[in-house]
């Protein structure tokens, strides 16, 4: 076995496997010069570590701490955290932004797409709760439009309305843009509509709409939450007229 400096240093650092270690030790038996080399490298390690150790005990400059606590955090990170919180943290349960393109591309572009759509789609991420909240035109459509009287030419259309297992009212929606549509599920939470699933659908994939289908993440969220069936026209109207206040489970 060639006793290179690199090998002996790795041995001194405890980086060798058990078998390699034993072979080095066997070689060291008869070589005091190599033993001295190993000892010196261990001493060097201690010397370097202890020379720099006092830096750890110093106070961190105030300006640096302020930077950590005040500088802006990546919007894309906040957005993905918000999605995680809405959809469950475990990756298997996580409902990904879905854009009708191959999965890898969707993963790469999904969050960009989401952020790009947000300003005009009427969704904001609540900085306190981390939830996505409908606002503007989307909010008023969720509040007032009836799925049973949905007008196809509108930018925002309501798909179905239903009562969730926890008693809240939830509604699917689709928000058409010039190049893509955004399909989602919103549930009435307090006085707001929080978005629990969201998927981007490229314009050319509009056969999903024509087939009356929903993108998989939205469909999955609906089937997870729905209690019984979608509301019929009369029940939906009554619920809207009560302002979507839940009437218990």
């Amino acid at each position: 076995m060639d006793m290179s400096e690199a090998l002996l240093i790795a041995y001194a650092d405890g980086e060798l496997s058990g078998e390699e270690s034993r072979r080095v030790e066997a070689a060291l038996e008869s070589r005091p010069d190599l033993r001295a080399f190993v000892e010196r490298q261990r001493a060097l390690q201690r010397a370097v570590e202890s020379a720099f150790r006092p830096i750890l005990a110093e106070g961190v400059p105030e300006t640096l701490r302020n930077t950590v606590f005040t500088k802006p955090i990546s919007h894309r990170w906040r957005w993905s955290r918000a999605l995680d919180r809405l959809t469950g943290k475990s990756p298997s349960r996580r409902i990904l932004l879905w854009s009708g393109v191959p999965a890898a591309v969707a993963l790469a572009c999904g969050l960009v797409l989401g952020v790009a759509i947000v300003p005009q789609s009427g969704i904001r991420v609540d900085s306190v709760t981390g939830q996505m909240i409908a606002q503007g035109a989307l909010k008023s459509a969720l509040q007032t439009e009836l799925a049973s009287a949905s007008i196809p030419s509108r930018d925002i259309r309501i798909g179905i309305s239903f009562k969730a297992k926890d008693g809240r009212y939830c509604r699917t929606f689709e928000n058409s843009g010039a190049n893509a549509a955004l399909s989602g599920l919103a549930c009435r939470t307090g006085n707001a509509w929080s978005i629990v699933a969201l998927a981007g659908v490229p314009r050319e994939r509009s056969e999903y709409r024509m087939a009356g289908g929903m993108p998989e993440p939205v469909r999955a969220a609906v089937s997870q939450l729905i209690a019984g069936e979608a509301l019929d026209g009369a029940t939906e109207r009554a619920a809207r007229d009560r302002g979507w206040n839940s009437t218990g489970k």
């Binding site: 006793m3 290179s4 400096e5 690199a6 002996l8 240093i9 790795a10 650092d13 980086e15 010069d33 190599l34 001295a36 080399f37 010196r40 490298q41 001493a43 060097l44 390690q45 010397a47 370097v48 570590e49 202890s50 020379a51 720099f52 006092p54 830096i55 750890l56 005990a57 110093e58 961190v60 400059p61 300006t63 640096l64 701490r65 930077t67 950590v68 606590f69 500088k71 802006p72 955090i73 990546s74 894309r76 990170w77 906040r78 993905s80 955290r81 919180r85 969050l111 900085s127 306190v128 709760t129 981390g130």
Partner: protein
């Protein structure tokens, strides 16, 4: 404030002492070191979406520090590191140190580090100063573990020669 935002800031704040120590072992200069950590933190916050959750936050931030340092050196075309006046550097660095000797040891170590080639200095800083395993250092630098082993060995032979004299450094 968003609780998850707060907790990531707290996690980053907890890394500051280690990042400062790492930065100082790269820059050999306190002002540059604190600037480097400052840049690291701002960049990390701005690019937090690039951090893969489930991977180590410290590795990711150390990687940012070392990338920024390499970039800065290239941009400024700095070939030589400006080492602080050893006395001043030591005094500032080791405020709480027990004795003058440890200040000298520190100043000497900073100088010895400054003389190492850049790639070797980074590896040495990660493994000897910060105490990372070879695997962790390889992850930070995104190089094969064998590269860490060989760079570290060259650096340590040079450091040992400086600290213990030529004859003690090499296998003859």
């Amino acid at each position: 404030m968003d609780p998850s935002t707060e907790s990531i800031r707290t996690d980053i704040a907890a890394l500051l002492p280690r990042l400062r120590r790492f930065a100082l072992s790269l820059t050999a200069n306190r002002a540059d070191a604190d600037d480097l950590v400052q840049d690291t933190v701002e960049r990390a916050l701005r690019h937090l979406h690039q951090w893969q959750r489930g991977t180590k936050l410290d590795s990711w931030m150390f990687r940012i520090t070392q990338n920024l340092w390499i970039d800065q050196k290239r941009a400024r075309r700095v070939r030589e590191i400006v080492v602080d006046d050893p006395e001043a550097a030591a005094a500032a660095a080791v405020d709480g140190a027990r004795d003058a000797e440890s200040k000298l040891v520190f100043a000497d170590m900073v100088r010895a580090f400054a003389e190492l080639p850049e790639d070797q200095r980074v590896v040495t800083a990660l493994v000897l100063v910060d105490g990372m395993s070879y695997r962790e250092a390889a992850d930070v630098l995104n190089v094969p573990i064998g590269t860490v082993t060989s760079r570290l060995a060259r650096a340590r032979v040079a450091l040992a020669a400086r600290v213990y004299g030529e004859e003690g450094a090499k296998i003859v």
